[in-house]
């Protein structure tokens, strides 16, 4: 942890974060983590790269829904402080799901427009969160900064691949 304060450079800083989990599940088209200042920490899309920007827009707009849900939770109904926010909103082609941690980190999942089981989604998000926690706990990671660790990218892509493979409860 001293190393951070003394600004040692992370080892594989230049490691390309893209390319991870290229052909994941066809359901999931994009996953993203957004930081406390609503800045993107990690965004990975699993479709053609020319569409990547579209997902940036989608994820960014989804932050509005986060705000709405947090600001007036009465609409959220029973599960008041649940981290899993469910479906945020559909776009013309996709569905956007959200997950908000205690530390105001926002996890966003964009799927192609199909019906999904909530259990799968919850499961995915908790795995995703776990991956993030481990990545963020890396002493070489400064909180609030983008996550570029390739290990994290790999882990996320495996999580994405394994999406929906959770057994029924």
């Amino acid at each position: 942890m001293f190393a951070i304060i003394d600004n040692l450079l992370p080892g594989g800083a230049a490691g390309a974060s893209s390319g991870g989990g290229g052909g994941g599940s066809i359901m999931i088209v994009c996953v993203a983590i957004v930081g406390q200042q609503n800045n993107p920490l990690y965004l990975q899309s699993f479709t053609g790269a020319d569409e990547a920007l579209k997902f940036h827009y989608i994820v960014h707009c989804s932050l509005d829904v986060f705000d709405e849900k947090v600001s007036n939770p009465k609409k959220a109904g029973a599960n008041l402080n649940d981290t899993f926010l469910g479906l945020l909103y559909p776009t013309e082609d996709y569905k956007v799901f959200g997950y908000l941690t205690n530390t105001k980190i926002k996890f966003i999942l964009v799927t192609s427009d199909q019906d999904l089981r909530e259990i799968d989604l919850r499961n995915f998000f908790s795995q995703f969160h776990g991956a993030y926690v481990d990545a963020a706990s890396n002493p070489f990671h400064v909180p609030g900064k983008r996550i570029i660790s390739p290990a994290f990218a790999d882990r996320v892509s495996t999580i994405v691949k394994s999406f929906g493979s959770t057994p029924q409860p």
């Binding site: 600004n7 450079l9 992370p10 800083a13 230049a14 390309a16 974060s17 893209s18 930081g35 200042q37 609503n38 800045n39 993107p40 920490l41 965004l43 790269a49 020319d50 569409e51 990547a52 920007l53 579209k54 940036h56 827009y57 960014h60 707009c61 932050l63 509005d64 829904v65 709405e68 609409k75 959220a76 109904g77 599960n79 469910g86 479906l87 945020l88 909103y89 559909p90 776009t91 013309e92 427009d113 199909q114 019906d115 999904l116 089981r117 909530e118 989604l121 070489f140 990671h141 400064v142 609030g144 900064k145 983008r146 996550i147 570029i148």
Partner: protein
């Protein structure tokens, strides 16, 4: 929604028809229209018109229908709302009914015609017999016959009272209710009839069932049975989806269009009904299914744009429906988070959402149309006419909903009339060509924007903004596009969404290029190049220009490098910005168009260049060398080459220019810059900034001015006419670069030295320079009261030339606390309170040294009030101010001297006012009294006077009594001046100023003062000599001797005066003793001082005029008032007469002369006591009587028995008249007896030297 036909948009309204008696139609139709529910009326003025509502003969229910050529008749709805009434009301006047047979016959014929007409479609019939008033005989059987003829029962045959208002109203309402009821029946029956067909499934194709369901629904709507209507619409809708059996791709385009058209209408109906019944989420679900199903019915790619148009329209219409149904307020609907495919989120209840999506599809419509257009123009022949674009008579409207217009000239069967696919497509393309997609999209987006504003979905709004901007860009409205993109970019900067920002910037710089804004172009480009993207997007996409990504192409390391190369060439003027339009040269920098980029702490360009400055010391001494380190950082992907770097401070003389060693050619003009003296150049730095690496330079500075020294800006010259002016930061308070703050591994400290890195400041404090002037106040010793005590203040310059200096001088006495309480000598309150005053010698008019020196009247004493101006004193010279203190009382004071001046130094900064220095000196001055002057009177020597009063007074023995002097007698005044101060004084004169000469003459005993200086222990020798002389020479004047006599400390000077009172008085003021004295010192120093007097004072003081002009400035006169004396007659005078000395054993004579000054005989008794030093002979006691104004002498012969000072025998007189006795003082009756005459010889000379005065 506007382009939908009226009959579709609004719920259907019952239609009834009126015939006969047209004069009442308007009134009735008006009434019916206002009925609840309203009823439209079709007024047929004349019975001949009735045929209009007739229809063709109905087919039997079970008749097999041929497969239709369309699903819904285009005009069916309209027909039922405008042309097919539910009820026909026939109006007859009672005259016609009850009138003569001729009229009756006509009525019958009318009735028959009507029945013929309406038999086709079972339109209900109502008979109305109009009569003006209630009463009037009526023919009962004629009425029955009438009903029978009309085949209506009595309920449907009513009389209408036309002229009685109340009755009129009643009959109107009756009519209305009857009509309403009948029409309801009509529509129910119609619906039931059609439904029967459905139930019997007596149709060949599903199309018909769709149609039937639709019709049933419409009939239900007619009778306001919404539930049923909805039900049938829904079945119609679902059945429509079953219509398509063959795979969708194989369907011809027109068919698809038709299907979608029908679906659109039915869905619209469904949605409207749902929303009206307040089931928003239901409606949303329906809509989602609707879209989900038809989204993929694109059909052949050429016509894809029509599909997108359709989809976009769906969203648009639904958005409008939602908006209208919600009014303004957003819905309050708890979204269920069940994950069934039909979850409705809050978003989906926002009309804005649908507007937005509609806009998206509008854009998609445009893209696919553009591609379609290219292929179309490639293959189709351009001049082929658009068959479907012609006059109305040739081009008929489509018969069925969603079908193409018909070409009437081709024949009269539908399949002939319908156009070929090619024609159809061409028509569509031509139509689409003059459709402005961008405007439509922008409208949609604006609507969405308004909607989203209601829920403050800021980011969504920004996304809309960028979409809008893209549309503007597409429509070549670059100004608007740029404006929008600018605001949007702000948001993405704030939340540092780099990719989105990159896209915005790509558009922005394109806009700037198109608008010819070079500065903006450069700024956007630099920002783009400095975006934190380090992952390399593969180059294959570089070519692909997707609209989202924008003209800059997808963002990546490669692109950043490209962009920077490009912009650097522009900045270094190797090439121009590529022109916006063909043929023009594009933007370029030049002498006339230089470029200056300001980078402050908020600027997004901080990533391009940010500068950190830290001084090594917090405080530095002026004029001493100090160090400060400058650290530069760029986040551009390639090294940033700076040709020269100007670092500016708030003290311009510290400014520095660092030159890159690589370009020596620039050095030339650098030198001539040096001539300006503005900038100091330093040559030979390597100013190439490596990406992401701090470049540090440590420079030496010499701060000239005191106060804060702050580094303000660093200006980097990138090209010959391109500079970046960068506001510098302190490392301690440094803001990390926006966007890059979230990049891991990029926050290196600007400085190696940890302390500097954490605590370094770009500001340092320069201490005050100390004044280079010595102010010395040299005082000899303690001052004396009354004297002009010279306190010369001398200024000596040690390197500062005094310029317009001011000297504040004032006296302050010590207060109890010991702090100085100052009394500045200002004209307003002259220093009266002060125990002393300040004087200055010189000419008030003159203002500078030179004049004063020449001035003759240089020695005018001025009271010092206000500051003393000091003209300029060159470096290493001095001057002195001849200041004088005159005490009024012996009290120690503190002299405060404060000098303030402006150092006039190097000429180069005339601009800023020269710094004023200030320094103060205090000195405590002691003061003491110079002299103690005392005086007393004595009677003349050996001449005693009888003063009866004094004697009598003595008896009363009052100690404090005025001295008594005899009148017309000289008595002696002894004035003693004792030097009680520590310095030696030279006494110039001791004088008496008489009160008035007539009353009393005071003459100095002249000789006495000749050598008046005698030590106290000097004996009372040679008294007689002095006495005698003074007697012999009475001085004319009372002026004292002006010979200066030096009195050492503690010494005393005595001066004798004769006092000769002329009048008798018991309190006689004799006058004042004036001792003129001066401090004993050499005259030469004085003179030398008088030469270099300078400091002068302002004119105002001269008017006060207390500059006493003295010819002899250095002497002081201290005056002592003598106490008053009383003067009286003296009756008797006793004089004692004897030789000055005696010899042992040699007899001599002693006479007592008793003089009677009265005009009466005086009896005097005397007695002589003998003295042991002598033996004498003569009368020792006797009573004698002295004659008036005569003298009686008593003589004694004495033989000295002892040598030395011997007491003569004492005589005591007592005047019987005054009963007063007295004897001379023993002191005056002594004599010195020499042992022998020889001794006398030796002694003789000694007497005359040591002649003096008895103390």
């Amino acid at each position: 929604m506007e382009d939908y036909p009226e009959e579709l948009r609004t719920p259907p309204v019952t239609l009834v028809a009126l015939v006969g008696l047209p004069e009442f139609h308007s009134a009735i139709s008006l009434f019916l229209h206002t009925e609840q529910p309203p009823i439209n009326t079709l007024a047929l003025p004349d019975f001949s018109n009735v045929t209009a509502i007739g229809g063709k003969e109905r087919k039997a229910i079970d008749a097999r229908m041929p497969p239709p050529v369309g699903i819904l008749k285009a005009d069916w709805l309209l027909k039922h709302r405008t042309r097919v009434p539910a009820v026909l009301a026939v109006l007859f006047d009672r005259e016609q009914v009850y009138g003569d047979p001729a009229q009756w016959l006509q009525v019958c014929t009318h009735l028959d015609n009507i029945k013929n007409v309406i038999r086709g479609r079972n339109i209900k019939l109502v008979m109305v017999i109009v009569q003006p008033t209630l009463h009037g005989d009526m023919n009962e059987d004629r009425l029955v016959a009438f009903r029978k003829r009309a085949e209506v029962d009595s309920r449907n045959c009513l009389t209408f009272i036309s002229h009685d208002p109340t009755e009129l109203k009643r009959s109107l309402s009756r009519l209305g209710s009857v009509l309403g009821e009948l029409s309801t029946n009509f529509y129910r029956e119609e619906g039931r009839r059609v439904k029967l067909r459905i139930d019997k499934r007596s149709y060949s194709s599903l199309d018909l069932s769709v149609r039937y369901n639709f019709k049933v629904a419409v009939y239900a709507e007619f009778r306001r049975d919404w539930v049923a209507a909805l039900k049938f619409y829904e079945t119609a809708y679902t059945q429509l989806q079953e219509v398509v059996t063959t795979p969708i791709q194989l369907l011809p385009l027109q068919r698809i269009i038709e299907l979608k058209g029908v679906a659109e209408q039915i869905h619209f109906k469904v949605a409207t009904l749902l929303l009206h019944s307040g089931k928003e989420s239901e409606a949303v679900k329906w809509f989602k299914q609707h879209i989900a199903y038809y989204k993929h019915l694109i059909g052949p790619p050429d016509g894809a744009f029509m599909h997108w148009a359709w989809i976009s329209r769906q969203f648009h219409v639904f958005a409008e429906l939602l908006q209208t149904s919600f009014g303004s307020g957003p819905p309050t609907l708890v979204s269920n988070t069940t994950l069934s495919g039909l979850t409705v989120t809050d978003r989906e209840l926002q009309p804005g959402y649908y507007y937005q999506v509609a806009a998206v599809y509008m854009a998609r419509r445009r893209y696919s149309f553009e591609s379609a257009l290219t292929t179309f123009e490639a293959f189709e022949d351009a001049e082929a006419a658009d068959m479907l674009d012609g006059p109305a008579e040739e081009i008929g409207p489509p018969l069925y909903i969603g079908q193409a217009p018909r070409l009437l000239r081709r024949g009269n069967t539908l399949d002939l009339q319908c156009p070929t696919p090619a024609e159809y497509l061409r028509h569509a393309v031509v139509m689409e060509k003059n459709y402005s997609h961008s405007r439509a999209a922008i409208n949609l987006l604006t609507k969405a924007h308004e909607q989203y504003k209601l829920i403050q979905a800021s980011r969504t709004i920004y996304q809309l903004g960028s979409e809008m901007a893209r549309e503007y860009f597409n429509a070549r409205d670059y100004a608007n596009a740029k404006h929008l993109f600018d605001t949007v970019a702000g948001m993405y900067r704030k939340e540092s969404w780099v990719a989105l920002l990159g896209a915005c910037l790509g558009y922005l710089r394109e806009c700037a290029r198109q608008l010819g804004l070079l500065k903006e172009f450069v700024e956007y480009t630099l920002e783009l190049a400095a975006l934190p993207v380090r992952t390399d997007s593969n180059e294959t996409q570089l070519s692909t220009f997707t609209v989202l990504v924008g003209p800059a192409g997808p963002l990546g390391q490669f692109q950043r490098v490209q962009v920077q190369k490009e912009i650097m060439d522009v900045l270094q003027e190797k090439q121009n910005v590529l022109p916006a339009r063909e043929g023009d040269v594009g933007l370029a920098l030049s002498e006339s168009h230089p470029l200056l980029l300001e980078v402050d702490l908020l600027s997004p360009l901080r990533a391009v260049l940010s500068v950190c400055v830290a001084f090594h010391e917090q405080t530095i001494k002026p004029g001493e060398k100090t160090q400060c380190t400058i650290a530069l950082l760029t986040h551009m992907p390639l090294p940033l080459m700076i040709t020269k770097l100007e670092i500016l401070f708030n003290q311009p003389e510290c400014n520095v220019v660092l030159w890159n060693d690589s370009n020596v050619d620039r050095l030339v003009d650098s030198f001539q810059e040096r001539q300006d003296g503005v900038l100091k150049d330093k040559i030979g730095y390597n100013l190439e900034l490596q990406p992401y690496k701090w470049k540090r330079f440590t420079i030496d500075l010499i701060a000239g001015q005191s106060g804060r020294l702050e580094c303000l800006t660093a200006t980097a010259h990138i090209g010959p006419h391109a500079t970046i002016c960068c506001q510098v930061e302190s490392p301690a308070t440094r803001e990390s670069i926006p966007l890059w703050i979230f990049e891991p591994g990029f926050d290196l400290l600007p400085f190696m030295d940890i302390d500097l890195a954490f605590l370094g400041q770009k500001v340092t404090q320069v201490e005050e320079p100390e004044a280079l002037i010595d102010v010395t106040i040299n005082t000899s010793s303690a001052g004396l009261v009354g004297e002009l005590f010279s306190v010369p203040i001398s200024l000596k310059s040690r390197g500062h030339a005094i310029n317009q200096g001011e000297l504040e001088v004032y006296i302050s006495t010590y207060s109890a606390s010991g702090s100085l309480e100052a009394q500045p000598s200002s004209p307003i309150d002259p220093v009266v309170a002060a125990p002393a005053e300040l004087l200055i010698l010189g000419n008030p008019r003159s203002d500078s040294l030179s004049q004063t020196a020449l001035d003759g009247d240089a020695n005018i004493l001025q009271k010092v009030t206000g500051p003393i101006k000091i003209a300029s004193v060159p470096v290493d010279q001095g001057c002195s101010i001849p200041l004088y203190v005159r005490w009024f009382e012996a009290q120690s004071i503190t002299l405060v001297v404060s000098l303030s001046y402006a150092a006039e130094d190097s000429m180069e900064r005339k601009d800023l006012a020269p710094h004023r220095f200030w320094l103060q000196r205090n000195i405590q001055l002691e003061c003491e009294e110079p002299l103690r002057v005392s005086h007393h009177f004595t009677a003349p020597y050996r001449r005693d006077l009888l003063l009866p009063d004094s004697l009598s007074n003595e008896k009363t023995s009052s100690s404090s009594k005025a001295v008594v002097l005899p009148s017309n007698e000289r008595s002696m005044l002894v004035v003693t001046a004792k030097n009680i101060c520590s310095t030696s004084i030279s006494l110039l004169s001791v004088e008496i100023e008489e009160k008035d000469k007539s009353a009393c003459q005071i003459n100095i005993a002249k000789q006495a003062s000749l050598q008046a200086k005698v030590h106290i222990q000097a004996g009372l020798l040679n008294e007689m000599s002095s006495e005698r002389e003074s007697v012999e020479l009475p001085s004319k004047t009372s002026k004292g001797s002006s010979v200066s006599i030096e009195l050492l400390p503690g010494e005393t000077f005595t001066q004798l005066f004769w006092v000769h009172p002329a009048i008798i008085s018991n309190s006689l003021d004799l006058g004042v003793i004036c001792c003129t004295w001066k401090r004993k010192q050499e005259q030469e120093t004085k003179v030398s001082e008088e030469v270099d007097i300078i400091g002068m004072k302002s004119l105002s003081l001269l008017k006060e005029g207390d500059g006493c002009c003295l010819d002899f400035p250095w002497s002081v006169t201290s005056r002592v008032q003598m106490s008053a004396v009383s003067v009286e007659e003296t009756p008797l005078v006793l004089m004692l007469d004897c030789p000055p000395y005696a010899l042992l054993g040699v007899p001599f004579l002693l006479f007592f002369r008793i003089h009677n000054r009265t005009r009466a005989l005086q009896e005097v008794k005397f007695s002589v006591l003998d003295a042991q030093g002598f033996l004498f002979s003569g009368a020792s006691r006797d009573l004698i009587s002295v004659l008036p104004l005569s003298t009686h002498i008593v003589s004694l012969k004495l033989v000295p028995l002892a040598s030395g000072i011997q007491q003569l025998p004492q005589i005591t007189l007592s005047a019987s008249r005054f009963s007063a006795s007295f004897q001379p003082s023993p002191s005056s009756t002594q004599i010195f007896v020499f042992p022998s005459s020889r001794a006398l010889e030796i002694q003789k000379p000694r007497f005359f030297d040591s002649s003096g005065i008895i103390e």
